[in-house]
Amino acid sequence: MAEHEPLIIAFVCNWCTYTAADLAGTSRLSYPKNIRMIRVMCTGMVDPQYVIKAFLEGADMVIVSGCHPGDCHYINGNYKARRRIKLLKEILPKFGIEKERLKLTWIGASDGIEFAKTMQELVVQAKNIDPNPAGTEA
């Protein structure tokens, strides 16, 4: 199969992962253009619907990323996000959207390097799996 350019949607929290992305930028670190970032105030506000919509519109991967446990700006939004991701990882594979396409990570505000590395690694992974058929069918 010819290599495809995957599309990855990243829901990143304002306080940690978005700040880390900002730091990656100011540190002149680069990461692939396949990532489309959507800044949210907290991973706890990522409604499962957002993730479902992203996949139905053809995203090859979705990553939700926020503050480390204990560091949430809103105290516990990231713990709630973890349960929702757990739920989605049960539902989506029933319809052929494999678990591996949905990621949850904690990337703190000072982790600019970690952010760039994570995004690079995701693109490598996404290139190794089949494109999401919802991009063109279903």
């Binding site: 479902i52 739920l87 539902i91 959207i97 990570t105 279903a138």
Partner: protein, 390 residues
């Protein structure tokens, strides 16, 4: 705490015995009214009957109620929610099916209903036809059908009435025929219902009523209860077998997004399944908002990208979202399928997915009022396997 007795059935008429019992409940000073399914004729002609939930105040009207009739028009948990979302100042009894009680428990957890002012009377559930199949029978009085139906189901006959339709698929796959969370339970399994039925109190509230009705614990109950238990476990094992077969078929029919689109191809976005669902809890559904009032150009974009787009759009999105919202609370009552104008097997998919999601959170909808809804709580150290990119 639990007390058991056996009530005699006269003239082979189990319904009459249950009506008598409910009448004596309604005659209690502290019980103002009783919510139960009642026979109502459709129109003036002989178009048949509907069995609808009715709130009865006058004990003389009890002779038309028929909680055993093989039809299940709506999940009355939603009605109990209407009756209890604020204090009503009076106590009422509610006669509910097992799945209605289980849905009610979920609504209590969602703070949309309250158990304080109600006493729940549950009856062993023998299942029901779909609304459409029941309407086709066009019976002018369900009483005879009810008696025959009950006897045949308890004898293990399928379909329940010779030459008649099968039970609705929700009832055929239901592994919860016993209303375990009722205050008072009327038992049919393991009884010769031409002669007697069981009455059991399951809670303190139930025991108080049991005593007020001047019943005394039966001495022969332990042997009879053991027999009953055996019958019930056989019934449940049979239902589970069939359920697993349905899960397998549903899995095969929906395991890609394309197949899922096909599964829901007749969906017209009427959202009847959402209205009929007892645990679809949002006050305002996102699918009714402007979020889904797409720009006309958007449809062209979809058609262009995919070659064509089936309209109305968003059916997969709608159903997967509903799964994310309510599969943890789904009690498998099957009203979604019952409400579908195009006979899409909605229940099959929801029950199949709910089975996995509830297992993933070690949760069983409707089982335990003290077990919190999975998405309303969290622990610091849990589900570590979903975190990380590898």
């Amino acid at each position: 705490m639990a007390k058991t007795t056996f009530l005699n059935v006269d003239n082979n008429n189990v319904l009459a015995s249950i009506q008598d019992l409910l009448k004596s409940v309604l005659e209690q000073d502290d019980i103002e009214a009783i919510l139960a399914p009642q026979n109502i004729k459709i129109g003036n002609n002989d178009k048949g009957i509907n069995i609808m939930p009715v709130l009865i105040y006058d004990p003389t009207l009890i002779e038309d109620i028929d909680p055993l009739a093989p039809t299940f028009v709506m999940n009355a948990a939603k009605l109990v929610s209407k009756l209890t979302h604020k204090p009503m100042g009076k106590k009422i009894a509610v006669v509910l099916r097992a799945c209605e009680i289980r849905a009610l428990i979920e609504l209590v957890k969602l703070k949309q209903a309250n158990m304080e002012d109600i006493i729940i009377i549950g009856i062993d559930c023998l299942g029901a036809y779909t609304n459409k199949d029941f309407a086709k029978l066009a019976v002018s009085d369900a009483k005879e059908l009810t008696q025959q139906f009950c006897e045949n189901v308890l004898a293990g006959k399928e379909p329940p009435v010779e030459g008649g339709p099968d039970l609705s698929s929700a009832c055929r796959v239901c592994e919860y025929p016993i209303p375990e969370n009722a205050d008072i339970l009327i038992g049919l399994f393991g009884q010769d219902i031409k002669k007697q039925i069981m009455l059991q109190s399951l809670t303190e509230k139930g025991t108080a009523l049991f005593e007020k009705l001047s019943y005394t614990e039966s001495e022969e109950s332990s042997k009879k209860l053991a027999d009953r238990k055996k019958v019930i476990s056989e019934v449940i094992a049979r239902k589970k077998d069939f359920r697993d077969k349905v899960f397998e078929i549903t899995h095969e029919a929906t395991n890609t997004l394309e197949k899922l689109s096909n599964y829901f191809v007749g969906c017209i976005n009427c959202y009847n399944c959402r209205v009929a669902c007892p645990v679809c809890y949002c006050r305002e559904c996102v699918f009714n908002t402007d979020v889904f009032n797409h720009d006309p150009y958007q449809y062209i974009q979809w058609a262009k990208r995919k070659g064509s787009v089936k309209l109305p759009a968003d059916t997969n999105f709608y159903h997967i979202t509903r799964l994310a919202h309510i599969s943890l609370a789904c009690v498998g009552c099957g009203q979604c399928s019952n409400a579908c104008p195009n006979d899409i097997p909605v229940m099959e998919l929801f029950k199949y997915v709910a089975n996995s999601t509830q297992a993933a959170f070690e949760y069983e909808a409707g089982k335990d009022i003290d077990q919190p809804l999975p998405l309303s709580v969290f622990k610091e150290e849990e589900y570590l396997d979903v975190v990380g990119i590898n």
